[in-house]
């Protein structure tokens, strides 16, 4: 651990402020709690919210995994992992089962999570209503009064115009039958994994300065219509590397003649399956 930094980069007072926001967020599942997001040594949109949440909950005996679109080996994932290795001296891992804290951008691991794990999401836009209701004051009121008809209108428009709900990612959910919540831009395929998950799910939006949370074993329902039920979508192929027909797949273009391959977006899951 490099000296000159407080443990996990943030000063203790800031961490305490963020923990207070986290406690409140867990007490009111799905509700967005404002917090004083700090300047971080990386740009907004690169996970500043997630990093601050991770920094506030991580301890010296934690083992951290960071994924970006499911992958452990992309730039963003590697830099954040290295960042915490340097400023907190914690162990890092690429294995979902070995990790105690998993910071993620846009995916939930395929391997089921456990009660002793914390999943930290990086959130670009915490307000699910922002495209429909630009006035923050009004959208706050809609949350307060649980008036979510507007979101349903958006789904209605999708079906009317495209025959199906077109939000393949960031599909809005209702948490514990009360708050409308953005699941962050995870694929709709991952939405069902949030429901009754044994792990703690924390969401940090750095630029928008909001924190929200889903406590363990909490109901998370994706919005839909009775006659157009929510469908988690995945590409109808098997992974080219591990042959999985259950995991979420990325499409890779392999040449300029239309060649393409589908492989698991969760690199740890795929590597494990290839080993066994």
């Amino acid at each position: 651990m490099t000296t000159g930094y407080n443990f996990a980069y943030l000063d203790e007072a800031t961490k305490r402020m963020i923990r207070r926001a986290l406690l409140k967020a867990i007490a009111v599942p799905g509700h967005q709690v404002p917090f004083g997001a700090r300047e971080m040594p990386l740009p907004y949109g690169w996970g500043t919210g997630g990093i601050q949440v991770t920094a506030s909950v991580i301890g010296s005996d934690d083992r951290l995994k960071v994924i970006d679109q499911g992958a452990d080996d992309t730039t963003n994932a590697i830099s954040i992992r290295r960042f915490f290795a340097r400023v907190a001296g914690v162990e890092t891992t690429e294995s979902t089962t070995e990790a105690t804290i998993i910071q993620t951008r846009h995916r939930i691991p395929e391997t089921p999570l456990r009660e002793d794990q914390v999943l930290v999401y990086q959130v670009p836009m915490p307000e699910p209503l922002f495209k429909l209701e630009p006035r923050v004051r009004e959208s706050t009121k809609l949350h307060a009064l649980a008036e979510y008809g507007l979101m349903q209108v958006k789904l209605y428009e999708d079906i009317a115009k495209q025959g199906e709900v077109a939000t393949s990612y960031n599909h809005p959910v209702i948490v514990d039958g009360r708050y409308l919540m953005s699941p962050s831009p995870i694929p709709a395929f991952d939405n069902p994994k949030m429901d009754m998950n044994p792990a703690i799910q924390l969401f940090g939006a750095g630029r928008e300065k909001r924190i929200y949370a889903v406590p363990p074993y909490t109901r998370v329902e994706s919005l839909d219509f009775e006659d157009h039920p929510f469908r988690p979508i995945r590409a109808p192929h098997a992974c080219a590397l591990c042959r999985s027909t259950e995991s979420y797949l990325d499409e890779l273009i392999t040449d300029d003649r239309g060649g393409r391959r589908f492989i698991c977006s969760d690199t740890d899951y795929c590597a494990q399956r290839q080993r066994t």
Binding site: K141, L145, E147, G149, V153, Y156, E157, A160, F225, D227
Partner: protein, 248 residues
């Protein structure tokens, strides 16, 4: 159904409402007429719980409206009440299809069956004489009269009992106005709606209203059955108002 008394609303030194009382019964159409600035729109906004007052009370179904919470007022506005704005574009969502606009109130009231929402929406579009084939079109492409009819369908779909209308025919050309008035008259009679109609158009008031209230400088100067007020106006101002209507 609704009655109000002692309403006082001042904007600085100007009295928009000066000790105003009114009542409306189920199925009744009450027109509030007067010149611009007479306080008629202010009265409508107060009755609908959109504008706080300095004094007075508004009672709807035995409930004091002015002291209701925001949540309760919004619930009334979604279910029992409707509000039709002069400018349809203020009420419609122009980046959402005509069908979405009409269905919004159903969804706000908890409808979650796409097929049934579509059916009900198509039914209401037909009732306001809009071809259901244009359901998925953007209302931005609709004419002013169509937008106004769309607003009516959107408001009436949840079958409110009391509808507030603020100059519903304002800004439309005369032939469109006539058609729209005819449509409103038909719907009001058929659904047994109570309507508080604010207008400066005496002809519209004569066609739709059972009763008329004439306002001037924030006061009610005359009130009575439509024919009585318009054919035998007693107050000097009403006489002026009636005599200044152009004969076609």
């Amino acid at each position: 159904m609704m009655h109000a008394e002692g309403l006082v609303l001042r904007f600085g030194a100007v009295a928009a409402l000066d000790d105003v009382a009114m009542e409306i019964h189920p199925g009744e159409v009450l027109a509030i007429v007067g010149e611009s600035g007479s306080g008629k729109t202010s009265l409508l906004r107060v009755l609908a719980g959109l504008q706080p007052v300095q004094a007075g009370s508004v009672v709807f179904d035995g409930q004091e409206v002015l002291s209701l919470s925001d949540a309760a007022k919004r619930r009334l506005m979604r279910t029992e009440w409707g509000f039709i704005h002069q400018n349809a574009r203020d009420a419609l969502r122009l980046d959402i299809s005509a069908g979405g606009n009409v269905g919004e109130r159903l969804m706000a009231a908890g409808a979650r069956h796409y097929g049934r929402i579509r059916e009900e929406t198509a039914h209401w579009l037909r009732r306001v004489e809009i071809d259901p084939a244009r359901m998925d079109e953007n209302p931005r492409n609709f004419s002013g009269g169509m937008q106004q009819r769309l607003q009516i369908a959107r408001t009436l779909i949840t079958r409110p009992r009391l509808v507030f209308m603020d100059e519903p025919t304002g800004g439309l050309d005369v032939s469109v106005q006539a058609k729209l008035l005819d449509l409103i008259r038909g719907l009001v009679a058929e659904l047994g709606l109570a309507v508080v109609l604010v207008t400066h158009d005496i002809a519209a008031a004569r066609l739709l209203a059972h009763r008329i209230m004439v306002m001037r400088h924030g006061r009610v100067v005359e009130e009575g059955l439509t024919d009585r007020v318009l054919d035998d106006p007693r107050h000097a101002y009403t006489q002026l108002l009636v005599s200044s209507v152009l004969a076609a």
